[in-house]
């Protein structure tokens, strides 16, 4: 990103601070939520949602993904497809087994 002017960067810095604040708040929220009386399904869902939001904030702003070149976005999209395959197919397989008890 060599084409950024000084002012550009200054406005970036503001964004960084905002993101920082939101991350801190979300951290507190997720800890607070874990002390609430949620069913385990709800708790998992909520915690993962918050983590995903935090993660996207970091990725989009700190890592500049939001303005990154298409090629990188593509690579990451493929990666996430494989990531989810890796996460979910073994999980489905876990249940689809002739393991009667």
């Amino acid at each position: 990103m060599s084409d950024h002017s000084m002012d550009d960067i200054k406005s970036h810095v503001k964004v960084y601070m905002l993101v920082f604040a939101s991350l801190a708040v979300l951290t507190v929220v997720t800890v607070a939520a874990s002390y609430m009386d949620l069913s385990s399904g709800e708790a998992i869902f909520l915690a993962l949602i918050i983590a995903t939001i935090k993660g996207s904030l970091v990725a989009s702003y700190f890592m500049h993904l939001i303005s990154e070149k298409a090629l990188i976005t593509w690579i990451l999209m493929i990666t996430f497809v494989f990531f989810f395959i890796l996460m979910f197919i073994p999980t489905i397989a876990f249940f689809d087994w002739v393991n009667i008890s």
Binding site: I78, I85, L86, A93, F95, D96, W97, V98
Partner: protein
């Protein structure tokens, strides 16, 4: 004088040992991996003795084995596991990706070097360390790994020798990751002016897709290796369920783990890995076929799409290695379907190769012979993958010699032949001299015959239901009795196959000094590596960065005097 000497000494290290020049690194990779290939083969030649003459003392190397020279079952298992590991991770992958990828991708795309030369060097040395650890494990008190190259726990968790294997694997994985990041970046960033994606030689495409497979598939195995290492060293139970009783003793671990978790993580790598073994081979074969049939590669675009699709699909077929673990209907249907789908791009690629021949002017030089032999050999290997892909048929064939035969047809007369083709084809580029054609043919014909002699009877044993990894080759079993006579035949073929490599080894050294001297483009090829001097200039490769104006395989354009038109030749009006 002294000073001068010192200076030269240093430059030797910089130039040949810790070089950052992709060509030197490629050669380092090539030599190391060929030696490993030979070593892995030697292990197998020893094993084949035991299979042919069970419990007879092994000649020559028997003394090393102790016990009157008889190959003990545990040693047999070690040699088998290490044969698989060495052939795949220390032999073919470094040869196909590390050596050919490193040397020829930058040349074929008109780049001065790889994108990250230092990383490239690190990749080689990481590979080297991994290899040293693997070899060293033979001499460690625990011995080498003996749980198969698949290292299924709980066996791998409780057997000796596995720790060094795992540590070695971590280095090898790191090496492959660094190497493939390098290749992808190089292909994306350093293509010469005018070299658009659809003008890339097919070899570059194959390396590009292979690198993606390595980047995405290897890390889960690294994760799995770390987990198994934890199991072995720290006493965790990732792969150990509760209530294990090993030789009468209740295993003192917390339990709660799952052996199947390893299988999922392992095959998530290992299926893409088998395509890593074959795709670069296909790339080389494509180059040699086009060049020696003096025709453009038929259906270039469909080849590119097929290989991309193949790469993608290879991530979602892994559980076809796990049908017999008790998989339910949903999973098995899914994986059977994806396995059948993945066979289609392979068929498209092979068909395109065959059709390329039609209408050509085919030259039968040594590289071409190997490339041609690749086709039916890969065909046999690939086609026999189909019955394995049907879960129902796999019930009978799983873990028998049928599987062994299937994949050896793909990797041994398949990939290894492709590698030979590549070596004969590009040797003039690397050294400035051609290899002897006579010795080449002396290498080719016996290799072709004996390869089939080794692996064809394995289909028969497999159909009979003979399990793999049997120390006595099935001597115990009644159902094997009808097929045992083949064991000796296969072993003799394997040893003769070993002898058949001698002309090749001689050829490599002999031709370095005495081969026919050639200029830049001895085969009349069109791609960019042939524009560079032979051998290409250190660090920069080309006299000047070439400019590309054409498709990769412009052979025999009608109305031209020469039957090839290099990619650099401008199109005139």
């Amino acid at each position: 004088m002294d000073n001068n000497h010192h200076h030269q000494e240093e430059s030797f290290w910089r130039k040949y040992i810790f070089s950052v020049d992709h060509k030197i690194i490629g050669l380092q990779y090539g030599v190391t991996s060929l030696l490993f290939l030979l070593f892995g083969f030697c292990l197998m030649m020893v094993m084949r003795w035991q299979l042919a003459y069970p419990e007879e003392a092994v000649p020559i190397v028997g003394k090393l084995l102790g016990d009157g020279g008889i190959l003990l079952p545990e040693i047999y298992n070690s040699l088998g596991a290490m044969h698989g590991t060495i052939m795949i991770f220390l032999g073919i992958v470094p040869l196909a990706v590390g050596a050919f990828g490193n040397y020829f991708v930058p040349l074929q795309i008109g780049a001065p070097d790889m994108a990250f030369p230092k990383l490239n060097m690190a990749s080689y040395w990481s590979y080297f360390i991994g290899g040293v650890i693997m070899i060293a494990s033979f001499f460690s008190p625990e011995g080498a790994a003996r749980s198969g190259w698949t290292s299924y726990p709980p066996l791998a968790d409780i057997e000796t020798g596995q720790t060094m294997w795992l540590i070695g694997m971590v280095f090898l994985i790191t090496s492959s990751l660094l190497g493939s990041i390098n290749i992808i970046t190089t292909v994306v960033q350093l293509r010469a002016p005018g070299l658009t994606w659809m003008r890339l030689p097919f070899f570059v495409w194959s390396q590009f897709i292979t690198a993606f497979l390595l980047v995405m598939a290897f890390p889960p195995l690294e994760a799995a290796a770390v987990l198994q290492l934890m199991d072995r060293v720290v006493g965790t139970s990732f792969f150990l369920p509760s209530g294990l009783v090993v030789s009468g003793e209740v295993l003192n671990v917390s339990g709660g783990g799952s052996p199947l978790l390893w299988q999922h993580l392992f095959w998530f790598l290992a299926h893409p890995e088998v395509y890593v073994l074959i795709l670069p081979g296909m790339g080389i074969v494509a180059e040699v076929l086009a060049n020696n049939s003096r025709k453009p590669l038929w259906g270039y675009k469909s080849l590119v799409y097929s290989i991309t699709f193949l790469g993608f699909m290879s991530f979602i077929v892994w559980a076809h290695h796990m049908f017999i673990t008790g998989m339910g209907s949903t999973m098995s249907s899914f994986f059977q379907t994806t396995t059948m789908i993945i066979s289609i791009p392979s068929i498209i690629i092979l068909s395109a190769f065959f059709i390329t021949l039609w209408g050509g002017s085919i030259r039968f030089n040594t590289p071409m012979l190997f490339a041609l032999a690749f086709l039916p050999m890969f065909g046999i290997g690939g086609l026999t993958g189909l019955p394995l892909g049907f879960a129902a048929a796999d019930i009978h064939l799983h873990d028998t010699y049928y599987v062994i035969a299937h994949f050896h047809y793909v990797v041994a007369p398949g990939t290894i032949f492709a590698m030979f083709a590549g070596i004969y084809y590009w040797y003039p580029k690397m050294t400035g001299r051609k290899m002897s054609d006579l010795l080449g043919k002396l290498h080719f014909w016996p290799s072709l015959i004996f390869m089939n002699g080794v692996f064809m009877p394995m289909f028969i044993q497999g159909l009979a239901g003979v399990s793999r990894r049997l120390w006595d080759g099935g001597l115990q079993y009644a159902h094997a009795s009808g097929t045992l006579q083949w064991n000796e035949f296969m072993s003799i073929s394997a040893w003769l196959l070993g002898l058949a490599q001698i002309p090749f080894i001689i050829n490599i050294f002999y031709s370095m000094k005495n081969g026919e001297k050639v200029d830049r483009n001895p085969w009349g090829s069109t791609t960019l590596e042939w524009v560079a001097p032979s051998p290409p200039l250190p660090h920069v490769n080309f006299d000047s960065i070439p400019e590309v104006h054409r498709d990769p395989y412009e052979y025999s354009i009608p109305g031209r005097k020469r039957d090839f038109t290099p990619q650099t030749e401008p199109k005139k009006g």
